[in-house]
């Protein structure tokens, strides 16, 4: 069982899915010889050939739309969009077609496709390469939205997304692509797409979030543990459909919750989790729900980027605020 980075885990999951199921295809710009701009598809062309790994012209709308046609015909296309900044153009196809082809035809035609795209800041990338735009996709019924935050979850969740009979938007935090390695058994085991992952148990405060910032949340939990404060850390991983139960159960135990994401605050998906707490979860709350997120601004270019990202200190400060209550 070798160690793998997140991007290597993606690559292993893609290879496994293609090996297990001849209907699985990969398409996108530079996914072939080049192996993808982040090398997520490295080696797949050589291994599976040009009929299953298709380099496309440079046109995101068509990449999404062609995937819909392939899926309706029974293939399992996995489309790569090179950066989230270029994935917004596909919302039209995803919302008006992929998400509702099954509904529109009462199940006669379906759309088992996956649209993969890297997201998030922190790698000193050029303009338009650092957004966390998941909230543009989370109010679209018929879509599943998944964001892994470790190699193991990337592997298991991508396999699940590809096997899922309905469309999945799969977001990959660039900051984590090569940030760390994890033992990974390439065993073809998928992880559930409707479940949060509790990364650390604790009874004093619940830290819930997703994507790259899970690392700062875990680091914050370490620091808190050193002070004798036990934080429960939950990786939402699948934003839609949301596993509110796991989060509510945790907060029922801790009474305190800090929600963390890299996307801007206002209208971010963290609001949905806070809304669950303000509703069904209200009676468990001992302190106001805190949100530590990116600011409601454009992600700055490299020189100021790190000041935009939620930091361990900001998370700790929020936790301390919640602890002051009750």
């Amino acid at each position: 069982m070798a160690d793998a980075t997140l991007v290597e885990a993606i690559n292993l999951a893609l290879a496994r899915a293609m090996q297990d199921d001849p209907r699985v295809l990969i398409l996108g710009a530079d996914v072939g010889k080049d192996g993808g701009v982040f090398r997520a598809t490295d080696g797949l062309l050589a291994r599976f050939g040009p009929e299953r790994v298709l380099d496309t012209p440079l046109a995101e709308v068509a990449i999404a739309g062609v995937s819909i046609g392939l899926a309706a015909q029974g293939f399992r296309p996995v489309a790569e969009i090179q950066f989230m900044g270029f994935a917004y153009a596909t919302i039209d196809q995803l919302l008006n077609h992929a998400a509702r082809l099954r509904t529109r035809t009462r199940g006669r035609l379906t759309c088992p496709m996956v649209l993969r795209t890297p997201c998030g800041a922190g790698i000193r990338a050029p303009e338009h390469h650092s957004e966390s735009g998941e909230a543009c996709f989370t109010n679209i019924p018929g879509l599943r939205i998944v964001i892994p935050s470790s190699p193991q979850r990337a592997y298991g969740l991508l396999l699940a997304a590809i096997r899922d009979p309905d469309p999945v938007v799969f977001l990959e935090p660039t900051r984590l692509y090569r940030a760390f390695r994890e033992p990974l058994a390439d065993d073809g085991k998928a992880l559930p797409l409707d479940r949060c992952f509790t990364l650390r148990e604790g009874g004093d405060v619940t830290l819930v979030g997703w994507s790259a910032v899970m690392r700062e949340m875990l680091a914050a939990a370490e620091r808190l543990a050193a002070e004798g404060i036990e934080a429960e850390v939950i990786d939402v991983a699948t934003l839609v459909p949301l596993d509110a139960e796991t989060i509510l159960a945790s907060v029922a135990k801790t009474g305190r919750c800090v929600i963390c994401h890299e996307a801007p605050l206002t209208g971010g998906f963290g609001a949905e989790i806070a809304a669950q707490l303000a509703g069904p979860g209200l009676l468990s709350l001992l302190a106001p729900v805190e949100r530590v997120t990116g600011y409601d601004t454009i992600v700055p270019l490299a020189r100021l980027e790190q000041h935009y990202l939620p930091s361990v200190d900001r998370i700790l400060a929020a936790v301390r605020r919640t602890l002051r209550h009750g």
Binding site: A59, V61, A64, G69, H97, R102, R104, R106, P241
Partner: protein, 360 residues
């Protein structure tokens, strides 16, 4: 100035019958025997009858907004009749002529336009797509389906029908470019009815023809008289054969005219002269084929009366069946969203069903 000519292109236009139904030359093989054209004629009549009924139903509150294909029947019938059963149709919202020929039933069409999703669950052509309302957004799907057929090495082709306005959209262009690069078994047929709601053809593009948009993606493009069902069928058949044979995609612009309002929600008098419309009535496709059939002794007043009567009966029966179809249960809203309803939605489903009584 030291310059070389590096590329050259031309666009051709094909027509077999003039507006009065006179042949301009020898007809293609399928039209050698005039009697063989009668099914095409009946199909155009059926479409026109369906459209008239649908408009009447909308006016009397029994159908939603509807887009009539009055004057464009030859495009859909000519193209669909050129398709093999296992080819795939990816239509727009004004393509009932093609859908009916393909085996979509009038009941299904009434249900769809009446606001019932079951109308897109065709019992007939299972691979055909439901109509696309977002203009041109289905051309990429057509490319994707064509890619699927090619990857499976099936000798099948895809026919995608769009309007003149659709040719201004980026998704049309991107998909056509994919089809060129991958030599996909795809035929994109432009039903150029000269208008996109209130936008006349000239306001849509400075291109002299819409067929020449094929030049931008390196595939063949041509024009055909869209009111000459023989020409449409012959040119589309040729393009489909080419596609099935592995020779790639093509673009065909069928010149026709929208004799109706854009939809029942539109009043074309706001932006279009009646004089222009009257003029175009002279070249409409149904009379044109009828005149030819009559001139060949293959059609008669009797036959006409019978054809109209049987079309009316068929459409009226379908209309009855539609009106007699009870709406889906409220739960249907949830039951086709995913293969399996996520746990998080079961309570919403229950609430919706529960609110059935109280609500609405």
């Amino acid at each position: 100035m030291p310059t070389d000519r590096v590329a050259q292109f031309s666009i051709e236009f094909t027509r077999y019958l003039d507006p009065d139904g006179n042949p301009l030359g020898p007809l293609p093989a399928f039209a050698a025997n005039p009697a063989d054209l009668v099914p095409l004629y009946r199909a155009m009549v059926l479409t026109r009858t369906f459209d008239a009924k649908a408009v009447a139903f909308q006016r009397t509150g029994r159908l939603g907004t509807f887009a009539s294909s009055l004057g464009q029947e030859a495009v859909g019938v000519g193209a669909a009749s050129a398709m093999a059963t296992n080819d795939v149709l990816i239509p727009s919202f004004r393509d009932q002529a093609a859908q009916l020929w393909r085996g979509v039933t009038p009941v299904e069409l009434f249900l769809y336009w009446g606001g019932d999703e079951r109308g897109s669950d065709f019992a007939g052509p299972r691979d055909d797509f439901p109509i696309s309302v977002p203009v041109a957004s289905h051309v990429p799907h057509a490319a994707g389906v064509a890619l699927a057929l090619k990857l499976r090495q099936q000798s099948r082709a895809v026919l995608c029908i769009i309007g003149d306005g659709a040719t201004s959209k980026g998704d049309f262009y991107e998909a056509l470019n994919f089809a060129g690069v991958w030599r996909l078994p795809l035929v994109v047929l432009i039903s150029n009815n000269q208008w996109a709601i209130s936008a006349p053809r000239a306001a849509q593009s400075a291109a002299e023809t819409l067929a020449q948009k094929a030049v931008a993606v390196g595939i063949p493009g041509e024009q055909v008289d869209g009111n000459d069902v023989i020409a449409v069928r012959e040119r589309v058949a040729r393009a489909l054969e080419r596609a099935r044979a592995g020779n790639g995609a093509s673009l065909i612009e069928a010149l026709t005219y929208r004799l109706s309002d854009h939809t029942t929600a539109d009043d074309a008098r706001r932006y279009r002269d009646d004089a222009e419309v009257s003029l175009h009535w002279h070249s409409e496709p149904v009379a044109r084929l009828r005149q030819y059939l009559v001139s060949q002794g293959a059609w008669s007043r009797d036959a006409e009366e019978h054809a109209l009567a049987s079309a009316t009966t068929e459409i009226d029966r379908a209309a009855e069946a539609y009106l007699a179809t009870p709406p889906q249960p409220i739960s249907a809203m949830f039951d086709h969203l995913f293969a399996e309803l996520p746990a998080s939605l079961t309570s919403q489903r229950a609430q919706a069903i529960g609110s059935e009584a109280g609500d609405g």
